[in-house]
């Protein structure tokens, strides 16, 4: 290493220069900074045809450790650049994920941020904490919301925000279930239910505040669970829908089986068909996305590769799902802790749920082949921001 330069190199170098055989430099691809700058001037288009491909690329226990290394590792496995990258921003951190969004913007992707009013230690199934919907509505967290909105505005590039996702489930503290659930509000006809109504109030409160700060680059994603739990009338997506003015995209989480205790394989079509229809009925035009989709690796129960193959085939069927415009794959493996399982799922304790794309060679191959279709879009389509 580090030899002294032979003088002859100088001589030869001069000769080469004189001979004029230096080729002109090849045009450089845009730098990361240039890419990020472009996004700041743009809006995200809803593709006329095709579906934006995205992923949650195993960003750690808190879902917020976004690193380029992890993004590139996933893209290396998938063999495709991701138009959307999903990560979380918990209210308990009291921060805006500036660094994460910068990485994603420089990567020429759209961030999907799960913005969750939740406090540490982010344990599921324990009910509302200090970031409860009621406190939000009461304005107790307005200062934080404003700070967050200001930071979002400063980021300038489009951000998809899924606020209070899977509210029609029972595990997160913002579920309608925790706020009176299906209790009918007196004097309403058709009946309105307490849980969903509080949710809608909170949603509108937050969106209004963020918009008031001028963060018009936020794309609001109304994000449900594929099937409500409990699956009662009061808990359906329609009950939670805050209105067309408050929502830009609609979407849902779609999961095949995730635990050893699930002994029956759920076919992809059954999982997408009803929830898709449920959302299309809420609004005639808004684009729909699979905010999360994935399945565990349980070769004794079913073939993950086949499920993924089905998934790509079915979601790409424009005749059936013409408004499906984005799909975010959930790439994660976790261990099911003994203190989070109940008697009925005891067999899950200590086992792993492997939703990673590379959980098996079959799964990986199915994903790579499926995602390679040009119909599945690898880059965001930018359109210029309208001039004010």
């Amino acid at each position: 290493m580090k030899m002294m330069l032979p003088r002859s190199a100088l001589f030869v170098g001069l000769l080469l220069l004189l001979a004029g055989c230096d080729r002109p430099p090849a045009p450089q691809p845009p730098s990361a900074a240039e890419i990020a700058a472009q996004a700041k001037q743009s809006r995200l288009a809803v593709p006329a045809h095709g579906i934006y491909m995205g992923a949650y690329a195993d960003f750690g226990d808190r879902e917020d450790d976004v690193t380029l290394e992890k993004i590139e590792a996933f893209e290396g496995l998938a063999g495709k650049h991701q138009a959307i990258l999903a990560s979380s921003s918990y209210w308990g951190e009291q921060s805006f994920p500036t660094a994460n969004l910068k990485i994603i913007a420089r990567h020429n992707s759209i961030p999907l941020v799960f913005w969750s009013p939740w406090d540490r230690p982010y344990k599921e199934g324990v009910g509302p904490d200090k970031y409860s919907l009621r406190r939000i509505i009461a304005g107790e967290h307005d200062a934080y919301i404003d700070r967050w909105a200001d930071a979002a505005k400063e980021h300038a590039a489009p951000i998809m925000v899924s606020f209070c996702n899977e509210m029609n489930g029972a595990w997160f503290p913002w579920s309608g279930d925790h706020y009176g659930g299906g209790k009918v509000i007196l004097g309403t006809d058709p009946p309105r239910y307490e849980g969903p109504e509080i949710f809608k109030q909170a949603w509108r409160h937050v969106v209004d505040r963020v918009r008031a700060r001028g963060a018009d680059n936020v794309i609001w994603v109304f994000h449900t669970m594929d099937f409500s739990m409990p699956n009662d009338v009061w808990n359906l997506a329609a009950q939670y829908y805050p209105g067309a003015d408050y929502v830009d995209w609609m979407g849902f989480s779609l999961y095949g089986i995730q635990f050893v205790s699930d002994h029956e394989w759920a076919p992809f079509f059954d999982l997408i068909d009803w929830p898709y229809k449920e959302l299309t009925l809420l609004d005639p035009t808004k684009p729909i996305m699979l905010c999360e989709w994935g399945v565990g690796e349980f070769p004794k129960v079913g073939d993950k590769g086949a499920w993924i193959r089905d998934g790509f085939r079915i979601m790409s069927d424009e005749t059936k799902f013409p408004r499906l415009k984005a799909a975010v794959f959930w790439h994660e493996r976790w261990q099911n802790s003994a203190d989070e399982v109940d008697e009925s799922t005891k067999e899950n304790a200590g086992t792993y749920s492997d939703l990673r794309v590379n959980s098996s060679p079959g799964a990986l191959e199915a994903y790579r082949k499926g995602v390679a279709s040009p119909f599945l879009l690898s880059e965001p389509i930018w359109v210029p921001k309208p001039v004010k």
Partner: protein
């Protein structure tokens, strides 16, 4: 004139002295205070902080103890069915975990090889969804261990980089059987290739859902290895992993279970004990219940964790690191640090500017307690995780068979410092503290047999303080070895286009030749650092040289940029973290008060100099970025096109991952003007700067001129050599013809003339040879005795009695040309043949000479002089010189009629031409050269007859040779001056444009420069920068050799003789150089030179 020379030399001397002095004076740069701060900012805090989150796993062992109770019974049942009970070798296994890239591990292995039975290097991993085997391996280590009776059992992990890949193993276990078979085959083959004793499986995070499949996989691997006589050992982490392992079934399928008896709190947990007593004892009971006791090896922790409380993630450090950190943080002697109940782990807290730390360390005391428990449980052996990070005294503890007495305890209490380097802080900007101090701990025995200690005085090991690595998203790019005229500008262009500031560690010598680039680097806002003047390995040079290397570069940077620099990077070792005290010496010197540098190492080294391809360079940066935040690239030292290509990609990638690319100063929060102070700020050094700023350009221009000259000289030498080879070969091919029989009829009458001065010893032999000729025509021999003081005349007269054709003419001593003129006056014939009195003709010589005068345009014919007296090195050298210099040249020159000298020693001259030329002149010492040139003026041709061989006697001593050559050289220079109008005169064609300028350049100038070239060569070799000049030197030598070989072949001398050219190059050429210089000086003095005479011996014969 003389005065002018003396004055000039004095001025030159004074300039050199001043320059050297200016280089030596150090401007007393001061290391920015903030760089040193860390040393004073460590503080201990003996109180143990409450853990931020209680460890849920602390008593997990209890649940497994319940589970394990029935295992023994089931194993017994199983054995009753199979009827097999495994037999294991007796004796305690002592296993060391070994990491290849840790120099401390090697040091520990070297020291304690005798105490180990097994070594587990981290060589194998299984990765990818399909379960691919990836392997390293070091045959030398296997050989080393085998020779010492240590069995090598490499570890096989399901790990890629620093990530566990459970899928790799799970897919093997649950996937198709042919995949498993393939993997087992590959593994068995790899182990055979490595010649190791077996494999240690360490699979982690396996889903217990695949317990059965996993067990089957291990059984399959075990069966294959056992068939080949190898062992399979299985690592068992204490905890959930027990669920994914069916140890009952595996008990008889694997040779050893290896319990990893540490990580009660792992590096990703909150701070706490690594292996507390209760935890250790609990798990020991669990382990005891699975399988046979002697199947188990208990691996004991021999390391420390340092948790930065901000991050809740620990850095794994060595025991020595833990000691140094405690020592520098200043532990309060009174309270000290206990290793005692209930945990028996050492724990302390300290703080530094970047955060609060909690340290837990395991030492010889915890090791004693654990070994005692393991031995009491009668397990199969003990492991050490890992070599190099342990308390050195665990090795004494390992040998303790009984409860240690007071003496042994006292010995354990004395902790000796050694030269192992320890580390504090984070980042690659380092400073050194090389002080070493022994420490003490009070060691005693508790009533229950546990050992305890109280640390009162921590030992201090040499410390490398690391700084600049605390901000996770700041990174610096650095370039070493430049500037380079081709690559540095391209790199600067890229940096400019991307708006990135970098640091350039320049080699002074390269800076000297690219002053504009040094200025551009600074002008464009980059940092400049000192990388020594000649890229010297400072670990291997004297202190004086170190200083000179740094100061000369500093002066250069100052004189070019108006700024000093406090940044320094040592050549060669920047990419390996120093581990031994010796490696710290140059760092210590550079950062000393006297020198005042900030030492910048690096951790991200994509080895761009090895040209692995731009994408590989980028990939290596990606892989290593997590290890550090200073990237090393090179802007010189060869073709850096890949670096230039990779650089924008690296910048993009770093920025894309959220990094801010900053100069070094920003990593340290030191302003540019403090890191690179403006020199105008300190005027007291102004005079010295003026001196150095004048001296550097002068020396640069001188050296530049030297190189330009070397290049030109090489080109000209090559051209001339090729031309001479071509012409001589043509001549050789043409003159193979037989003598013309018709010549007998027209042979002219010939006068043979000999001038003799003090030739009494040899004249008779000379005459005897010359008269024995086959010349067919009339012939007379005339000897002129130039007033000899010896018996020359008598000898000739004696000879004349038998040979009446010989005449003697006597004259008073008047010089050689007068003597020859006298001889001519007595000669009767038109054709004159000249020979020296010491030269022996062969029979055909006269005829061969005269034949060539057939052509009336030919005025003179040169014979073929060869050395007759080849008796020592001096004459052998001359022989080769005659062969490949004079004769080959003459052959070539005769082709183009540009012979510069028809030598008096053997020649034939047409008398009419001689008269026309005015006879021999007397105004030069080389009358033959003078005459030859005059003939050229008159338009005559000169010819060369290779058959006209004459054996001449060459001087046999260096002194004699020098004297002769001085005469020739001086005479030749006189002639060149006298006939200077012929040089580059188109009228004389090849003579004016080829052979005469050739004499000036190749025989005067180049020979005169031989000492200079050789001195530069020697200097270059001494300073290690010889790469450049070697090329030229080799070219010259090769050309000489080729030419000599060709000449030997033409002259039918043995080709091997040509090899003599190599020693000649070093000895003979120096003599010639001396002669040339002496001639030059003599000419300058304008003095006349007398008739130099050779001492004669009478040894030359007619045949060699």
């Amino acid at each position: 004139m003389r005065l002018a020379i003396v004055l000039g030399l004095l001025v030159l001397l004074a300039g050199i002295v001043l320059t050297v002095w200016s280089v030596w004076i150090h401007p007393a740069l001061r290391l920015p205070a903030s760089v040193r701060e860390l040393k004073g900012q460590l503080k201990t805090d003996i109180a143990i902080h409450p853990e931020t989150a209680p460890n849920r796993n602390a008593d997990k062992w209890k649940s497994y103890l319940d589970k394990s109770r029935s295992v023994q019974a089931r194993i017994a049942q199983m054995r009753a069915v199979t009827g097999k009970t495994p037999v294991r070798p007796a004796g305690e296994v002592r296993l060391g975990f070994y990491s290849d890239n840790d120099p401390n591990a090697l040091a520990s292995l070297n020291e304690h090889a005798g105490q180990l039975t097994h070594l587990a290097p981290e060589w194998l991993s299984v990765v990818g969804a399909e379960g691919r085997l990836v392997s390293a391996g070091d045959p030398a280590l296997v050989e080393y261990c085998t020779a010492r009776g240590i069995a090598v059992i490499p570890v096989l992990r399901n790990m890629q980089g620093d990530q566990w890949q459970p899928e790799a193993v799970e897919n093997l276990a649950r996937g198709p059987a042919e995949n498993r078979a393939r993997f087992v085959r590959e593994l068995a083959a790899k182990l055979a290739e490595l010649k190791v004793a077996g494999v240690m499986i360490e699979f982690d995070q396996i889903d217990p859902a695949y317990r059965e499949e996993f067990t089957a996989l291990l059984t399959e691997i075990g069966a294959a290895l056992h068939k080949a006589g190898r062992e399979i050992w299985l690592c068992v982490s204490l905890g959930d992993q027990l669920d994914s392992l069916d140890l009952e079934s595996l008990s008889d399928e694997t040779d050893r279970f290896v319990a990893l008896m540490y990580d009660e709190n792992s590096d990703s947990d909150a701070p706490g004990p690594i292996a507390s007593r209760e935890w250790f004892e609990g798990w020991l009971q669990v382990v005891e219940n699975y399988g046979d006791n002697d199947q188990w090896i208990a691996v004991l922790g021999a390391f420390a964790y340092d948790w930065n409380r901000k991050e809740n993630r620990a850095e794994t450090i060595t025991f020595r690191d833990a000691m140094s950190r405690a020592s520098y943080a200043g532990v309060d002697r009174a309270s000290g640090v206990p290793v005692g109940p209930p945990e028996y782990n050492g724990r302390y807290n300290y703080s530094e500017p970047n955060g609060e730390h909690s340290v837990t360390f395991l030492d010889a005391v915890s090791f004693y307690n654990q070994v005692r428990m393991v031995r009491a449980t009668k397990l199969g052996g003990i492991g050490v995780n890992r070599l190099g990070s342990e308390d050195p005294q665990i090795w004494d503890v390992l040998e303790m068979k009984n409860v240690p007495g007071g003496k042994a305890l006292a010995a354990l209490g004395r902790m000796r410092a050694d030269a192992t380097v320890t580390h504090i802080g984070r980042g690659e900007i380092v400073s050194v503290n090389d002080s070493m101090d022994d420490g003490t701990r009070k060691v005693s025995m508790d009533a229950d047999g546990q050992m305890r200690a109280h640390y009162t005085d921590f030992p201090t090991f040499p410390v490398l303080y690391h700084q600049g690595g605390t901000e996770p998203h700041k990174v610096s790019i650095t370039f070493d070895d430049g500037p380079d005229p081709v690559w540095t500008p391209k790199i600067l262009d890229v940096l400019k286009a991307r708006g990135v500031k970098a640091a350039f560690f320049i080699v002074g010598n390269n800076g000297e030749f690219n002053p504009g680039l040094v200025q551009r680097i600074v002008a464009e806002g980059h940092e400049i650092g000192n990388h020594t003047y000649t890229h010297a390995n400072l670990a291997k040079v004297s202190r004086t040289r170190m200083r000179l290397e740094l100061d000369a570069t500093e002066r250069l940077i100052e004189s070019l940029t108006g700024r000093s620099t406090t940044l320094f990077r040592p050549p060669y070792n920047a990419d390996s973290t120093p581990s031994r005290l010796e490696e710290l010496v140059p760092l210590k010197f550079a950062e000393s008060d006297e020198m005042g540098y900030t030492v910048v190492l690096e951790k991200v080294d994509p080895q761009d100099w090895s040209r692995p391809g731009a994408n590989v360079i980028l990939q290596r940066v990606k892989d290593q970025r997590k290890d550090g935040n200073i990237v090393l690239l090179h802007d010189a030292g060869g073709d850096r096109s890949q670096t230039v290509e990779a650089l924008p990609k690296i910048i993009d990638w770093l920025q894309a991952r959220g990094d801010e690319i900053v100069p070094i100063g920003e990593l340290l929060n030191i302003p540019r003007d403090e890191l690179m102070p403006l020199v105008s700020a300190s005027t007291e050094w102004g005079f010295w700067r003026m001196v150095s700023s004048t001296a550097f350009p002068i020396s640069r221009r001188t050296v530049e001129f030297f190189w330009a000259f070397m290049i030109a000289a090489t080109v000209l030498t090559v051209a001339r050599t090729l031309l001479v080879i071509g012409l001589a070969s043509r001549h050789h091919a043409r003159t193979k013809a037989e003598p013309d029989p018709a010549f007998v009829a027209r042979a002219p009458a010939v006068s043979v003339l000999i001038a003799a001065y003090n030739e009494g010893k040899v004249i008779e032999n000379t005459l005897r040879a010359v008269v024995d000729t086959d010349y067919p025509g009339e012939i007379e021999f005339i000897v002129v005795d130039d007033g000899s003081k010896d018996d020359t005349a008598e000898a000739v007269l004696r000879f004349m009695k038998a040979q009446p054709r010989v005449k003697l003419v006597q004259q008073a001593n008047a010089g050689k040309s007068t003597a020859l003129g006298n001889a001519i006056a007595h000669a009767k014939h038109e054709v004159l043949v000249f020979l020296d009195a010491d030269t022996h003709f062969e029979r055909q010589t006269i005829r061969a000479l005269v034949e060539r005068l057939d052509d009336p345009k030919v005025a003179a014919v040169s014979g073929h002089a060869r050395v007759g007296n080849r008796r020592n090195f001096v004459t052998h050298c001359q022989c080769l010189e005659y062969v490949c210099g004079f004769n080959l040249d003459r052959r070539a020159y005769s082709e183009w009629n540009c012979i510069t000298v028809v030598p008096g020693a053997v020649s034939a001259i047409r008398r009419s031409a001689l008269d026309e030329a005015g006879g021999f002149s007397h105004d030069t010492l080389a009358e033959d050269t003078d005459l030859t040139l005059t003939f050229h003026r008159l338009g005559y041709r000169m010819d060369y007859s290779p058959e006209a061989v004459a054996w001449t006697e060459a001087p046999e001593t260096w002194r004699g040779l020098a004297k002769q050559r001085f005469r020739w050289c001086f005479g030749t220079m006189q002639c060149l001056w006298k006939h200077r109008d012929m040089t580059f005169n188109p009228r004389y064609r090849a003579l004016g444009w080829f052979s005469l300028p050739g004499i000036w350049f190749f025989q005067v100038l180049l020979v005169a420069l031989v000492p200079l070239v050789d001195l530069v060569l020697v200097f270059s070799i001494v300073t290690g920068s010889a790469m450049g000049i070697w090329h030229y030197f080799a070219v010259f030598l090769a050309l000489d050799l080729v030419l000599a070989a060709l000449a030997c072949w033409m002259e039918e001398e043995p080709i091997a003789r040509a090899l003599l050219i190599i020693p000649m190059r070093f000895v003979y050429r120096w003599l010639l150089a001396w002669v040339v210089w002496k001639s030059i000086f003599r000419i300058m003095k304008g003095a006349l030179v007398g008739w130099g005479k050779l001492d004669r011996t009478a040894t030359v014969g007619t045949t060699p």
